[in-house]
């Protein structure tokens, strides 16, 4: 009974959800967006400090959410820091395909292993929105939109 639950809630995910990384509001953030999932009421803010040439110098978030959305947000902030806007959006696209089960894997270089941790979500279609909430907010923040919704 618990096999696919263990696949979904891997130790790494439980760790990130209990101790989210970059859970803060940086004073020097110059892009931010609010992510909201109207189905469950989960809400989080993503903060980015974007430098020249679209470089993400810092990424952070705050908010309330389930283990999946918090872990995904936490890992996302770690992964996109140091990437460019274009690279982050390519990762988002690949990550969405992964958790929706449209692609079996993701080719993200050094980040592949970390992103694959969330691949178990594909067995739980109702939880895809949890896994992608922070990513939608990140994308909106880069596009200068204040609100991101999973709808």
């Amino acid at each position: 009974m618990f096999d696919d639950l263990r696949e979904l809630y891997q130790e790494v995910i439980l760790d990130h959800s209990k101790h989210p990384r970059n859970f803060r509001h940086p004073d020097d953030a110059n892009h931010e967006a609010h992510g909201y999932n109207p189905l469950c009421g989960d809400t989080l803010n993503v903060y980015l400090k974007m430098g020249h040439n679209g470089l993400i110098e810092d990424a952070a978030f705050e908010g309330k959410g389930c283990a999946i959305s918090l872990a995904s947000a936490s890992m996302m902030t770690e992964i996109i820091t140091g990437k460019t806007e274009t690279e982050a959006k390519v990762l988002f696209d690949g990550f969405q395909k992964l958790v929706k089960g449209e692609e079996a894997t993701i080719d993200a270089g050094d980040d592949t292993e970390r992103l694959m941790v969330l691949a178990g979500v594909k067995e739980f279609p109702m939880r895809v929105k949890c896994a992608t909430l922070a990513w939608h907010a990140m994308s909106s923040a880069m596009d200068g939109e204040e609100e991101a919704s999973t709808e």
Binding site: L8, K18, C40, G41, D42, A67, C130
Partner: protein
């Protein structure tokens, strides 16, 4: 079908085919009845028979099937009228669900009677469907929506309500039972105080209809709404009860066939009674299915259903209460068999996913009652809602699964 002098839950369960299913290899413990209830064989049979034996459009033809279909459809109206003890058939309007029933009243009664500065009183307990229609009509008319608060146990604050009632109060719209936390509100007192203040009252009975006998003439509400699918009937059918003298004066909600008396391009006159509010081909088979559901429930009887559900509620409350991380949200003195809870450090969505793998179906989220969630300072809760076909094994499955969640995240 059951013909019972005593309540035998195991026998009743056999009337509901879906209850013998396994989910993820585990016996189903269906505890999401507050969202929608399962259907007994009697309802499934009535629906099938209506389609394969008597189906035709109603109120239209002179042919045999149209007449047979009309008789069944109008027979369902009489079944429901008798069940809720409405004074006449014209007081029983078929809608598509409780939401549409409330929108009908807000739009038709509200548009005709509300003006700038008038007040509509709701409560913090309301489902979004008893908030948003009032906000929409308030925006159109300049009326103001206010909410009667609840206390820390989830009780309707009656003294505050009395203070809020005044000459500006035109409509009071309150739930009979909170869908999210199970509070039973004191509707008799609420209605009589509103009438003393000159306001009309709508009661949202969506959660009450599956749990208790509702008697329109005894309750005395001006409008009372509920939906079919929560009382073991099909989706797509709802009930609006309204007092005839009010309905007579209200303008139509939607225009179309069946709701007219005579149509010309210069002027149309409208049908009288319930027909005025039933434009277009109605949910014929759904109404017949709802009638069958009400007949089925009455073979068991709310006098037996009530004590059984209260015993499940007490048992579940006691068992869940023994789990350290569980906090029960809403502890009103009078509650229906609905338990909302949170677990320390664990999000309701994660609870829902994990207990589901144990075959336990519960609802997680804000239950379309975000102001209520805000009151308790939570974004969401997990909710187990029990019907008369639930048994102690269902409670045990829930408690085992919730303990599993605690271990999982421990």
């Amino acid at each position: 079908m059951n013909d019972m002098t005593t309540f035998d839950v195991e026998k009743i369960r056999k009337d509901f085919p879906i209850l013998s299913r396994e989910i993820h290899g585990m016996p189903l413990a269906f505890l999401d009845n507050g969202a929608s209830a399962q259907k007994p064989k009697a309802v499934l049979d009535a629906i099938e028979k209506a389609y394969d034996h008597t189906y035709a459009n109603v109120h239209r033809g002179v042919h045999y099937l149209s007449q047979a279909s009309t008789e069944l459809y109008e027979g369902a109206r009489e079944t429901i009228r008798a069940h809720i003890n409405a004074a006449s058939l014209d007081e029983v309007i078929f809608t598509k669900n409780a939401t549409e029933s409330i929108n009908l009243v807000a739009d038709s009664y509200g548009r005709a009677n509300l003006k700038e500065g008038d007040e509509i009183l709701l409560s913090t307990l309301e489902h979004h469907s008893n908030i948003v229609p009032w906000q929409l009509i308030a925006e159109k008319t300049g009326a103001v929506v206010k909410a009667v608060p609840i206390d820390e146990h989830g009780e309707f604050m009656f003294d505050t309500y009395l203070e809020m009632l005044g000459p500006k109060t035109k409509i009071v719209a309150v739930t009979h039972i909170s869908n999210a936390i199970g509070t039973i509100t004191p509707i008799d007192e609420i209605i009589s105080a509103a009438h003393d203040a000159g306001a009309v009252v709508l009661i949202d009975g969506s959660q009450a209809a599956p749990h208790m006998q509702i008697d329109m003439q005894a309750i005395g509400a001006d409008f009372y709404v509920f939906t079919g699918h929560k009382v073991f009937g099909p989706t797509g059918i709802g009930i609006l009860y309204g007092k005839e003298e009010l309905l007579d004066k209200m303008p139509p909600y939607q225009g179309g066939g069946d709701m007219i008396r005579r149509v010309t391009f210069e002027k149309t006159t409208f049908a009288k009674g319930h027909s005025k509010f039933e434009a277009g081909t109605p949910p014929i088979v759904q109404a017949i299915g709802l009638g069958a559901a009400i007949d089925y429930v009455n073979t068991i009887g709310f006098d037996k259903i009530g004590p059984h559900e209260q015993s499940l509620l007490a048992y579940a409350t006691e068992q869940l209460g023994q789990i350290n991380s569980v906090r029960i949200i809403g502890q009103a003195k009078q509650k229906a068999s609905i338990i909302s809870f949170t677990m320390e450090g664990i999000h309701p969505h994660d609870i829902g996913t994990i207990v589901d793998r144990g075959g336990v179906a519960i609802r997680v989220g804000h239950h379309c009652a975000q102001p209520l969630m805000d009151h308790f300072d939570v974004a969401a809760t997990a909710r187990a809602s029990f019907a008369f076909y639930n048994n102690r094994a269902d409670v045990d499955a829930l408690v085992t699964a919730v303990r599993g969640v605690q271990e999982f995240f421990g």
